[in-house]
Symmetry: C2
DNA sequence: GGATATAGTTGATTTTGTCAACCATATGAG
DNA sequence: CTCATATGGTTGACAAAATCAACTATATCC
């Protein structure tokens, strides 16, 4: 199934192994071997670490580590001190000399990398960094950090339209006319946008919109929920629930009697969410608007 | 200067070294060492490779390689054959047994990776792949591959609006009203879009729009150029020139008398491009439309 | 208090990688 | 043609890196 992707990942692994090898080669004339450098790094990062931590962090045999540390001690780079709390453990510290040597090595590594990448434009530097952060986050199973902000910013109208166009095409096979309709609707919304009575919530991940919800006034007592959307990769993280809670709280705070929304019968996941927050189906009508037979449905929530 | 970024990249290197180590560890019980596996891989990829190629690809000492190959030969996994064209060279081939063994290893590596990543959602798989491709492209200094297609697709209207909103904010400090204006304009364009007389050109990089240009009919003999935009990271690659050439060719082909466009005096780079393609300033009027004093300018090109 | 586990050390050994010398063939200048 | 030099690869001698199992000392848990 993922066959092509697996092959791509393995290709990247080979490529990056080569790149890392390029960096490592240089260490040779630094007086430290590769594992020595990594061990020094771990010691400098957490002064007082114990050997078993390093074993885990660097993935090295404990016997081997013991000997490398022995070497460091004889070169007067580190000190080993038996733990007072647990007599089996040894805490490891850099001596002043060790710190100096490590700093030298560390600076040299920085320079080497800087040299290697100095021809890249700032745009590519930051792209590189973003890609790396992305990979780290994915492989270490960090749940993506998503912030929710209110208030429209330049780019939001367009990106929201883009999300609708792309995802409704993908998931419901709507065509371009739907996207044009969204663009039109958002342009109109913008013109009657009243920050006091209306509110938008934007979910952002690394500067990119991944979710959206909007509540706008319709007369003085009621309001309409519109443009609810979540990027597929960010579903199932509770964002929809969080957005909905914010919306209900806002509607209450602003004193609306009730909130309504229009959707189509196809939006099953969204509808389940609406229902869970107390919305009930109040009206239904057929539609052929976006190139297929649909039932448009109205849901109402009385506050 | 890039100090923080350098540190981030080094952090990624440590992280990824660990990840690769995880993958490599497994090889231990495959009967092949890590360099052996890489060498086998290179042989299988290019049957008949010569030793020196492998030295370059894998970054291994030639003496060491010679011995590893010797080992393969004695295990009947590969054949060495002296080149007929150059008696110094040896071409290396997998035997049937070698191919079988390699396939086994290769499949096992695939499975191992698949196993390691099986809990990731499809969205994260493809994100991972994209990040990896991005890093490879940047580090190997590949000029970004940009394709130009014609024809609107779902997502285009929104993304184009987004580009305008974001970039005009960034570069000219236009506000949201400009973006709403673009959204409106594009929705209208879509409704009167006539594939026979109008054309859009979309520059794409890795599935994302990075440039756009449109020509639409205005009456039967003249046409208007609109929505010309290029993502900053993709300027200076000759894309603007290419788009403009496509537009002029299309306008000629469709028999238009002349092409015109409206812009503002601030768009200096774009204006230079227009002039280079024969456009001349024909009209100018003040405007305060998007929150600042501007001179709107009309340029015409007679064909 | 005795079985079991953890933290680290040590000795023996294997695997992996490096270096320089070397052979055979090819290439290019005169 | 031929001699100096370069290229592709092999070999021997070593050094470095890594592994494994046995061992000591301390801690923990019933």
């Amino acid at each position: 199934m993922h066959h092509k992707t697996i092959a791509d990942i393995r290709a990247f692994n080979r490529f990056y192994t080569g790149f890392l090898g390029l960096l490592d080669r240089y260490l040779l004339d630094s007086g430290f071997s590769l594992p020595e450098a990594r061990i020094l790094f771990e010691i400098s990062r957490g002064e007082g670490v114990q050997a078993s931590d390093i074993v885990d962090l660097v993935g090295i045999d404990k016997g081997y580590l013991s000997r490398i540390l022995e070497g460091f001690v004889s070169r007067k780079l580190v000190l080993r001190r038996r733990s007072e709390a647990d007599g089996r453990k040894m805490h490891i510290f850099l001596t002043d000399k060790g710190r100096r040597e490590f700093d030298k090595l560390d600076r040299a590594s920085d320079n080497q990398l800087r040299e290697l990448l100095k021809d890249l434009s700032p745009g590519r530097w930051s792209a590189l960094k973003e890609h790396m952060e992305g990979i780290t986050a994915i492989l270490s199973r960090k749940p993506p950090e998503v912030g929710i902000r209110t208030g429209l910013q330049p780019g939001d109208i367009g990106y929201l339209t883009y999300l609708h166009g792309r995802l409704y095409k993908l998931e419901c096979d709507y065509g371009l006319s739907f996207e044009a309709y969204v663009a039109q609707g958002l342009a109109e919304f913008y013109h009657q946008y009243d920050p006091d009575r209306d509110r938008v919530w934007v979910c952002e991940h690394q500067g990119r919109m991944v979710g959206f919800l909007l509540l706008m006034h319709r007369g003085s007592r009621s309001a309409q929920l519109r443009y609810f959307i979540l990027e597929p990769a960010f579903r199932g993280l509770g964002l929809g629930k969080k957005l909905m809670a914010l919306l209900v709280a806002f509607a209450r705070e602003k004193g609306y009697d009730h909130v309504y929304l229009w959707t189509t019968h196809e939006q099953e996941t969204a509808i389940a969410l609406y229902k869970r927050h107390g919305f009930v189906l109040t009206e239904e009508k057929p539609s052929t608007g976006f190139g297929k037979a649909l039932r448009e449905q109205r849901f109402d929530l009385v506050l």
